[in-house]
Symmetry: C2
Subunit: 209 residues, 2 copies
DNA sequence: TAGATTGTTAATCGATTAACAATC
DNA sequence: TAGATTGTTAATCGATTAACAATC
């Protein structure tokens, strides 16, 4: 198993496409269909499958039900995963309401914020005080978190999360967080992503003149 | 200029770090400082600079003011860029309020939504009807957009944006959008990113047992 | 001068793409 | 059988890392 990271991301997308296709009553799908849906090539689709030992039928593509079962297995989509969000600002609250997570089996069980006005223990996912962060993670054995706090408190928050037992985070704070080797961080730097789009758009324009 | 995409993203991060350092009164910075801040190596920092012709002083690092000027030039950070957001749901509204964009010189000038309850022409960035999308882009010569609509309407919305003159988008809809070659799309698939974190966390756990 | 740092060229690594073999 | 499709091995490409030369 050599190339992995990118392939895994695509496997999740193949899975989503499979689920949607199943709803439409499709029973089998070709590598070309996956490729078209994802904007990639059928070669890459089959390569990805091959890496993870997923196989189809020559001349007949992939059986939807069968592949879905295999994919769920490979992607470890077994039980629901509990997730907490630290920071109940714009981003944090938007993610709380984001349907995609629920669909992906990711359940947001609590938010945390040190602004007492934002706190609400009775809310559907409760918004708790930061002091409760460590205890909550520990008691509920949470392994996944989202960091949606300003950059100056992000590292501090992460340190608590790590101590309490979190194993991986999605980080929206625009800062490179420090964590142990076996801890997984996925940086989502919205500002820089949009700035870079602006940059590449300007570059494209220049090229044509 | 061979490697570019990743380097550009880092250049924007170097710039942010420079701005923060300047505020702290720093006058010069070493490649090691950049590396530490970004979680990369000084070799990569210097390589990135070298690609874009940015130079420092042997033994004395980089002068903050000087490098910042050069970086702004390279990254084309001249005038403010106007941005529109299509979709005034959770994500769309959160992005509207996101400070990072403003700091990066990206001004959100309007949102669009086909839900009349969400619309509000008088709001600070107005929330307009989808029917106004084409005209608004066209009249205001907008080049940058954010797609934050459900996946089933994303392609339709993009088609209008392209026709009206948008040149690049940040896409939050979980679908591979079709666009001409010289159009720039940056996909932000939150669901898949978080799912993949869950996956890698589970993988790490398995490895240790 | 010696040491620390920048800057560039070469080597390696990881991911994608191409070529082609297998087979239904 | 011929054609379409899967699946794997090899080649290429792009990005990172290492080696080292330059110099303040």
């Amino acid at each position: 198993m050599i190339l992995v990271k990118q392939s895994v991301l695509r496997l999740f997308q193949y899975r989503d496409f499979l689920i949607r296709s199943k709803k439409l009553g499709k029973e089998s799908i070709f590598s070309d269909d996956f490729a078209e849906n994802l904007g990639t090539t059928s070669i890459q689709v089959r390569k990805d499958f091959s890496i993870f030992g997923l196989s189809g039928n020559k001349r007949a593509g992939y059986k939807v039900d069968e592949l879905l079962k295999q994919l769920n297995d490979v992607l470890k989509k077994d039980e629901k995963q509990k997730v907490i969000i630290v920071g109940a600002g714009n981003i944090g609250k938007a993610l709380m309401k984001y349907d995609g997570f629920r669909e992906g089996g990711l359940e947001i069980v609590a938010l945390f914020d040190n602004d007492s006005k934002a706190q609400n223990e009775k809310a559907k996912p409760p918004v708790l005080a930061l002091e409760q962060l460590y205890g909550f993670i520990n008691e509920n054995k949470i392994e996944l978190g989202v960091i949606a706090v300003p950059y100056h408190s992000a590292q501090q928050v992460l340190d608590i999360m790590i101590l309490a037992g979190i194993k991986g985070v999605m980080n929206f704070a625009p800062i490179a967080l420090k964590a142990p080797k076996n801890f997984y961080i996925n940086d989502m730097n919205l500002k820089i992503e949009l700035e870079s789009i602006a940059y590449f758009v300007k570059s494209l324009k220049k090229k044509r003149t």
